[in-house]
Symmetry: C2
Subunit: 340 residues, 2 copies
Amino acid sequence: MVLLYKYDSESNSNNQKKFDELKQLITNDLKKVDFLIKQKINNKVSYIPKVAGYLVKAGGKRIRPMLCLACAKLCNYKGQKHINLSACIEFIHTATLLHDDVIDESKKRRGLKTANDIWGNKSSVLVGDFLLSKSFELMTEVENIEVLKILSETSSIIVEGEISQMLSNRDITTTEDEYLEIIKSKTAHLFATTSKINSYLVKYPDKYKNALDSFGMNLGTAFQLIDDLLDYKSVEKDIGKMVGDDFKEGKITLPIILALRRSNKIENNFWKKTIQDGQIDPGDFQKACSILKKRKVLDDIYTRAKHYGAIAKDALGIFDNSKEKNILLNIVDFVIDRNF
Amino acid sequence: MVLLYKYDSESNSNNQKKFDELKQLITNDLKKVDFLIKQKINNKVSYIPKVAGYLVKAGGKRIRPMLCLACAKLCNYKGQKHINLSACIEFIHTATLLHDDVIDESKKRRGLKTANDIWGNKSSVLVGDFLLSKSFELMTEVENIEVLKILSETSSIIVEGEISQMLSNRDITTTEDEYLEIIKSKTAHLFATTSKINSYLVKYPDKYKNALDSFGMNLGTAFQLIDDLLDYKSVEKDIGKMVGDDFKEGKITLPIILALRRSNKIENNFWKKTIQDGQIDPGDFQKACSILKKRKVLDDIYTRAKHYGAIAKDALGIFDNSKEKNILLNIVDFVIDRNF
């Protein structure tokens, strides 16, 4: 059962269909979000829209704002604050990416050169700070203290996750539990906030808030598992960041953790040399990939992602059936079966 | 009239007295702020209190929280939110310093090694982000949308100033007006917010808010003028950061701008070589200082700082006389006459 290698063109186009359905559901709102983002990065210091505009153009999947907008529809929210919240969440995410680029010294992100690569560390730190400060302006404009508390707390938790990840770098004793804690902080928590935040605007009962929180948390966990898997799997044009970056940086992700647990003496020495000591020789990344394949690591991570995806789907069980709900359920499959 | 060289021990002790008066006025509140800061940086990720605690210990003058607390007293504010606001403002400031350390590659700040120097770029960026996110948590806890808008806008303006300063680096065509714009954004605006923020809690009439805004803006401008002057003047043990850092980094501050305007051909070539082209030979910093002295640059900057200080003092004219007002007036002198 080689689950992962089902990425043929048919399943790809099926997956793209799910993504397009979501996009269609919220297409008008998404245009408003894009407009607001452009408005917010406009600045008298012309360098700011230049760099930040590059990031917006680089764009990415916009999965978080789309999720936020779709969940607003699921909650039957009728106002306009979800536009602000979506832009706010995208700014938090983009700021994290920018500061992550400084940190990881990665050369590419989303198939384009990183801002850091073009404009340097200074720029990445400061434009990241600018986007963070704008995210706080955006959430303040929502004028809802409860929403503000959730979003500002989420920002703190993301940073905690990033710091924990930094500390686990090259530490081959990191456990799967510790890894899960890290990705929950740095990724899944923002997905949870994104999914539930609109339910606070419509003052839904707690059980719906909790359901959306669980949906987002598990979806985000699956998302990051697949992201970390793709770093050992994708070809560059698909994922948009350089495959093998995590390997080169000695980042401890689940592929490495499982490979270490399943290693024989020779493999263990290989991981110590490459991940712990950072001594990477030509051909080592290909060797790493072939060990992962041999040890069924990527397949098992895909199965684990499916597990979190299943929890995410069931969490939505308390919502009545609707087009919106159906699309959100499909999004879980999209996140897991994507190859970019 | 060699104004600047009046820093003898007598004027020093007189200046210290003004600072101590302020400290005494708000001593209980300051303890509460310190307690809250320690509480907020406490974290399950033990690395965070370790690094952030180092910064708190490094401490600095705490001029901003002290100013915030004193202005709360001037506004006759009776609640406890000024404690949160003071901690929040100190976090914004400390985060800026941390990210500035990454950017400037400075080796020392406040006489201690910078966090960047000890723990590296990764750490400075992320712990700075952590403090920023905590500052937003702190301001959210104040539960006042108007206050939140002012503080989040201030954060954006600071970053704009930092970016403008980055862009002006080594650009010897920068004018005094442009420099003033930059220091207003990156420094004075936070002083203005610090001074006026409590007046929004007590719902003072606009004229008082505007007066406190002007007080802070002009005080902050004077503060930064003196800061930039001290980089060409202090001995290391006093200012706490390495003297000559700005010179080495090609940072365009007022000493350089005025020296360029007043330079003969030989001096102009010297500034082009050192500041524009970054070619610094042994003895060049001493040479720079002696040109500044010859061209009366530092004395004139001191006079300019006095000018902004005078505006700050007059801005408080609409407040009734009180112990608090008197201490705030003295603080203006302290900021201008300090040599650290």
